[in-house]
Structure formats: structure tokens, C-alpha cells
């Protein structure tokens, strides 16, 4: 259960944030519609108050009220339905996470498989492999459990910024205005600044000044130094070599914008900058890493993941697993040797677990073939061996 609460925070928090956003949007819509209805009603009430009883006029105004009321009802219904749908997404994910604790082993195995797929989808999205992520989510039917949409919307904005087009980014900023303000985000300001710089590059200095007048007045005083530096750019030609103005004109500023957008997008949905997949992979490699894995190729266990070439290289800077006790395991059955399964030593020196030797002797009556040496041995000659494990 504990591992669910360790890594599944994003699984639930993101749809919650979407629900929150939908709620705020709905509240705004409702308030606006209330305003419209109230205005129309007040207008009609005013007419009635002036003792004007003209049926035609009243009917027209009443028609206006009806229209506003209908609009209110429709928008309220739409908004509430969307909120309920968002809530249902959260519920579906919570129900999915509950399956982790199921008593049915097959369900748990299936759940673990699904968890790996979810982690992979998120990692692929973060590293930009959008098509692979979409295909994987579709083939396993886990789209509803992943945050695919968040990243795909972000991808559109990133692509448009890479094409030096600011429309989608500004639309996104407008969409998430209140949350970005809470985060003290400077993204929109930086985008506006970049637009100004593009005007300068295109030698449209009058347009640049008009743009500055529109967007730079009323900005936070913290931005003042950057604004001043930008305005100074007007005095320089577009191919100037003077720093820092040369850097302002550099194309790499678009990459910085993309990086800033990516970071802000993650913060908006309270996603960590590290993907859950990389954290889990590192912890797993560390917990499985033993000195055996780095001792050359003799005695390698092909099942050990850390001995796989690529994982071996990845795990080398990580800490080893901590082991404070010897572990002994019966070679035949794979069960641990402990007080319930006493180790017994055969005359040839090999030690096996008591349980499995008992099973073997039942089949072959009194003699036992030592599996390793294929020798026949007499049961009476087995000696109990005490192994201290501290």
C-alpha cells in the first residue's frame, strides 16, 4: 500500500487540478450569466415601475429575459456536467489504484503491469516521444489513467514556439491566467518581450514602440531593468555585436522560452520536474545492485536486471544495496534455509534444505540422488548442520 502513496500523487493531483480549473471557469460563467439575467430583469422591472403597461413593449423585454434565462440554464448545465465528468476521472483513477491491494494475485500482477505502462507513458511524454506514448497508451487502454492530454496540449504550444509563433502560447497564458499569477510567472512578459525583439529584428521599430506601449506599461517593477534593456535595443542595429544586446537578438531565446513554458506547465499541474519513472528506476537499480554484478561475467545470473549491459552502465554511479545478513537458499527448491527449513549436510559436503530432501526421499524411497553429483547416498548418513545467520 505504501508504494501507492509514494508515487501516485501525480496520478490523482492532475485530474484534481483540472477539476479545480473547470470549477473556477464554471463559477465565472455563472456569475456572468447571473449579471445578464439580472440586467434584463431590472430593465423590465423599471418599465413596469413607470406604470407603462404597453403589452408590446413588455412582451419584447420579457422575450429578452426568457432568452437570458434559457442561456443561463444551458450554460449552467454544461458547466456542471463538465465538472462532474472531471470528478469522475478522479474517481476512476482512485478505483484503479485500489486494485493494488486486491486479494486476487492475478489482479495484482495485472495492476503492476499497468503501473509500468503508466510510468513509461509519462516518461516518454516528458522526453518528447509523443507518438510512442500515444500508441502505448492506446494499445493498453490506459489513456484515462495517464496525463496524456496535458502533455499533448503542451506539445502543441512548444511546437508553435519552435516555429517562432506566439499565438498558442499567449492563448495558453490567458487560459491559465489566475494560476500563473499565483505562481508569479513571468512567461507572458517574456513572450511579449520576445515579440518586441522580433519587431526590432525585422526593422519595424515604430511597431516595436507601439507594442511596448501596449504591453510593457503596467508591468511589475521587478521587470523594469529588462524593459529598459529592451528599449535600449531600439538604438542598435539588428546585427549589433555589442553585448548584452547581441544576446537579446539571439535565436536561442526561443529555446529558453520553450524551456520556461515546459517548467511552468509542470508547476501548474503540480508535477515534479523528475518523472516518477526515473525515480523508481534509480531506486530499483540501487536496491538490486550487488558487487557481484560488477565482478566480470563469471557466475552471472541472467535474471538479475543489474547485470544487463545497459542497466549495468546506468547503475554504476548509484549506491549498492544494503545487506546485513547472509542469505542461504536451498539449491533444489529455492526456499530459504532457516529454522523452518533446517539445512542438512550430505556426506559429500553439499547442503540442502530439510523440506526438499524429505520430498525427494519420499519419491525414491530410502536413497537419494544428489542432484549436483548424481550420486546415490544413504539417508542415514545425513548430518544436520547449524548455520548461524546474524
Amino acid at each position: 500500500m505504501a508504494d501507492v502513496s509514494s508515487i501516485e500523487h501525480p496520478t490523482l493531483k492532475v485530474p484534481y487540478e483540472i477539476l479545480n480549473k473547470k470549477f473556477r471557469l464554471a463559477q465565472k460563467t455563472l456569475d456572468r450569466e447571473v449579471c445578464h439575467v439580472t440586467t434584463a430583469v431590472t430593465e423590465l422591472e423599471r418599465v413596469l415601475f413607470t406604470e407603462n403597461r404597453s403589452a408590446a413593449q413588455i412582451s419584447t423585454l420579457l422575450g429578452g429575459v426568457v432568452e437570458k434565462l434559457n442561456s443561463f440554464k444551458r450554460k449552467a448545465e454544461e458547466a456542471t456536467q463538465e465538472e462532474i465528468e472531471c470528478g469522475r476521472v478522479v474517481k476512476r483513477r482512485v478505483d484503479h489504484l485500489k486494485e493494488h491491494d486486491s486479494l486476487n494475485q492475478a489482479v495484482v500482477a495485472e495492476w503492476k503491469k499497468s503501473r509500468l505502462d503508466r510510468l513509461l507513458v509519462e516518461y516518454l511524454l516528458r522526453t518528447g516521444c509523443y507518438n510512442t506514448a500515444t500508441k502505448l497508451a492506446a494499445s493498453r487502454g490506459i489513456e484515462g489513467l495517464t496525463n496524456l492530454d496535458v502533455f499533448l496540449v503542451a506539445r502543441e504550444v512548444e511546437q508553435s514556439l519552435a516555429a517562432r509563433d506566439t499565438t498558442k502560447c499567449l492563448a495558453w497564458c490567458h487560459d491559465n491566467k489566475s494560476k500563473l499569477r499565483k505562481l508569479n510567472s513571468s512567461l507572458e512578459f517574456n513572450v511579449r518581450m520576445q515579440e518586441f525583439i522580433e519587431f526590432i529584428k525585422g526593422d519595424r521599430r515604430m511597431d516595436a514602440i507601439r507594442h511596448a506601449r501596449k504591453h510593457f506599461t503596467g508591468q511589475d517593477t521587478a521587470h523594469l531593468p529588462s524593459i529598459q534593456r529592451c528599449m535600449a535595443l531600439i538604438a542598435f542595429p539588428a546585427d549589433t555585436e555589442v553585448c548584452p544586446y547581441k544576446d537579446l537578438l539571439s535565436g536561442s531565446r526561443w529555446d529558453d522560452l520553450i524551456a520556461q513554458f515546459r517548467g511552468e506547465n509542470l508547476k501548474l499541474y503540480q508535477l515534479s520536474s523528475q518523472s516518477a519513472f526515473s525515480v523508481v528506476l534509480q531506486s530499483g537499480l540501487s536496491a538490486l545492485k550487488t558487487p557481484h554484478c560488477y565482478r566480470g561475467s563469471t557466475g552471472h545470473n541472467p535474471d538479475c536486471p543489474v547485470c544487463l549491459r545497459s542497466l549495468n552502465a546506468l547503475a554504476s554511479p548509484l549506491p549498492y544495496a544494503h545487506c546485513s545478513q547472509s542469505r542461504l537458499v536451498c539449491n533444489i527448491s529455492g526456499d530459504q534455509l532457516n529454522e523452518n527449513n533446517q539445512p542438512l549436510m550430505l556426506p559429500n559436503g553439499y547442503v540442502y534444505g530439510q523440506k526438499c530432501l524429505k520430498n525427494q526421499t519420499d519419491i525414491h524411497n530410502l536413497t537419494l540422488s544428489c542432484v549436483k553429483l548424481h550420486e546415490e547416498l544413504d539417508k542415514a548418513s545425513f548430518k544436520a548442520v547449524k548455520v548461524f545467520l546474524m
Binding site: 500500500m1 505504501a2 501507492v4 502513496s5 509514494s6 493531483k13 477539476l19 479545480n20 464554471a26 447571473v34 431590472t42 423590465l44 403589452a55 426568457v66 434565462l69 440554464k73 448545465e77 462532474i84 470528478g87 469522475r88 478522479v90 474517481k91 493494488h100 503492476k112 509500468l116 513509461l120 522526453t127 516521444c129 510512442t132 515534479s272 523528475q274 525515480v279 523508481v280 528506476l281 534509480q282 531506486s283 530499483g284 537499480l285 540501487s286 536496491a287 538490486l288 550487488t290 554484478c293 565482478r295 541472467p302 535474471d303 536486471p305 543489474v306 544487463l308 554511479p317 548509484l318 544495496a321 544494503h322 546485513s324 545478513q325 547472509s326 537458499v329 548442520v385 548455520v387 546474524m390
Partner: protein
Amino acid sequence: MDACSAVGRDIDKVLSKFTTYSDHASSTLGGLQANIESLKTDIDNVGYGDVSESQAMQLTQTLGRVKEAVSRLSIEHRDLHSSVSRVGKAIDKNFTADFGCLANDEVLTGDKQHLVNEVICQHFYREGLLDIAEEHIKETGLELPHEAREPFFELNRILGALKNKDLGPALTWAQENRDKLREQNSSLEFKLHRLAYISLLSQQPVNVSQAIEYARTYFTPFVYHHEKVIQSLMGCLLYVKGGLENSPYAHLLSPSQWTEICDVFTRDACSLLGLSVDSSLAVCVNAGCTALPVLLNIKQVMAQRQVHNMWNTKEELPVSIEFPDMCNFYLPNICFAMKLEVSDHKNKVKLIYCVVVKKSKIVKILVNSKLKITFYLLE
């Protein structure tokens, strides 16, 4: 599952409140709309004249109700916010938001990125997601040698056939690799033949002589190891007339036999090819998910006790992780005195009580009289 139950309870409350609100809004507004519509019809019927006093009165009242209703609905909606934010608080309280503190940024990025991509790609091949693997290669520009992919294509082809109850490719493969399988003590080929024989007996109409012919041809080499099983298989012939499902051998018809053969094939084939049975990535991720809460806990404890530098020793994790399943790939021999692994055989000493101890330590133990166990060092 307290974490999930807590959040589940809160989200259920939110959903029920929203549904109630929605129904309430619909009915209230619906009622008002109907009222106003009927009033409007009446007023329209008046035509060019004036409305009556009573109509005006009714209208004023209804308009008042409309204003009151819409503003009340807006306020009620605002009140729902507390339930919504309670969900968020429950999530924050029950789930760890900052697991990223454990991970090292540089380990998986930069020039190591292609290694991670390689592991993921191999995982896709292992799982039979060949088209997704191809897409991944395209998007990452990965270069995987053909030999790395070949075994998986073969494996997945045969597994696909087995899932369709087609034993042909599996049998061909088993026969080709008979010697290597025998070295591994694998009974895959026999199990495949057994399944083929049962299939012959369960098809309608049953061709008994065909089944016997099959048994004669294929069971003979396996008599030494699987005598009892072959005897029971031949015993099935007695029940063919009455239907195998009514016989003591009904369990042989179970569909779990087919899932079992897929598992056996996967296990033996992977073993033969020197591959791990389960996807390495899956094992690693499952291990990581088990390890993570323990490590997060210890980090929290260390932070509380203000032991910050212990985490920075890159040699070993500060705590051991217990794995319930078969995640123990190597069995370390730990010196019980020094709590370190004894790697070389020459350093290990087996005493008469079979205690594994580092040789150099024994002298110290004999000298140190605080320990209660006495040792006899034989020459």
C-alpha cells in the same frame, strides 16, 4: 488502502453534491421558465393594448423570483468549492508529492539517455509490442543491432501461435533445441506433445486410432522421465466414449493448461537464450516501487534527526530492502562480525559450527571477551 479510501470518500461526496446541485438547478430553472413562458403567452394574447394590473403584479413577482433564484444558484455553486478543495487536501495529505528528492538528475540524462532508451526498447520487444518498439526507435534515433531483436521476434511468433492453440511452431522449435533443453532438465517437448494428444482426444468426433498413433510416435523417448504421466494419459482412452470431461481426467482439458504451456515455453526459451525470464525493466521497476517508500521514510527520519550527510555516502543505501518475491539474484555471504560481504573464498572460514567469518576478524573476536560466543579455531 487508507490513502485511496480517504480520497475516494471525498471525491464521492463531491460527485454527489454536484449531481444534487445539477438536478436542483434544472428543476428550479425549468419551473421558472415554464412560468415565464405562460405569462408571455398571456401578454402576447393581449395584442396592442395594455397588460392588466394583475398580470403586471404576477410578472413583477415572477421576475423577483427569477433574480433571486439565479443569484442563489451562483452562491450555491460557490459553496461547493470547499468540498472540491477538500479532495485536493486529501490527496496532498495521503500521497507523497515530492518523491523527486531521492533521484539524482544526471544518472539517467545526457549521454546516458540512449541507455535508458535501449532498455525501454528491449522491454517493448519482450512484451511483443513490435510496432511500438519501431515507433520508439524512430522517435529516439536509437540504433539497435539486429541480433538484439531477432530472438524476440522468434519468441513472440511462437507465443502468438500458442495463444491461438497452434502447437506447430513451438514443437518445431523444441525439437530443434532438444539437446540444449535436455541439459536444462526441461520437459517442454513432452508437455507440448501431451497437449497435442489431449487436443486430439477432445476434438469431435474423436479419432482414437489417430491419438494412439500419435502417442506411439512421440511418447516413447519420454518414458524414462515421465512414466507415470504417460500411463495416466493412456488411461484417458478408457473415457473417450463417455466424454473426457466426465472422467477423473477432466482437469487435463482445463484452459489453464494452455496458459501454463505459454509460461513453460517462455521460461525455457529465455533460459536457453540466456535472457531473463521476466522483463528486466519490469523487475527493476517493481523493485524500485517496493524500495521507494522505505527510502523516502528513511530520508524523512534523517532530515528530522538532522543527519544530512549520511545520505551522501554513495557506497551503500542506508537501509536494507526486503523483497517478498524472488528478487534475490545473488546470495551474499556476510561476515556477521563486520557486517560486510565476504567476497573471496580464501577469506571465508568455515568453522565447525559453519559460521562464515572473515579470517582476520577471528583473532580479534578471541581477544575481545565481550562476546558471549566462544570459538574454537582448529589448525
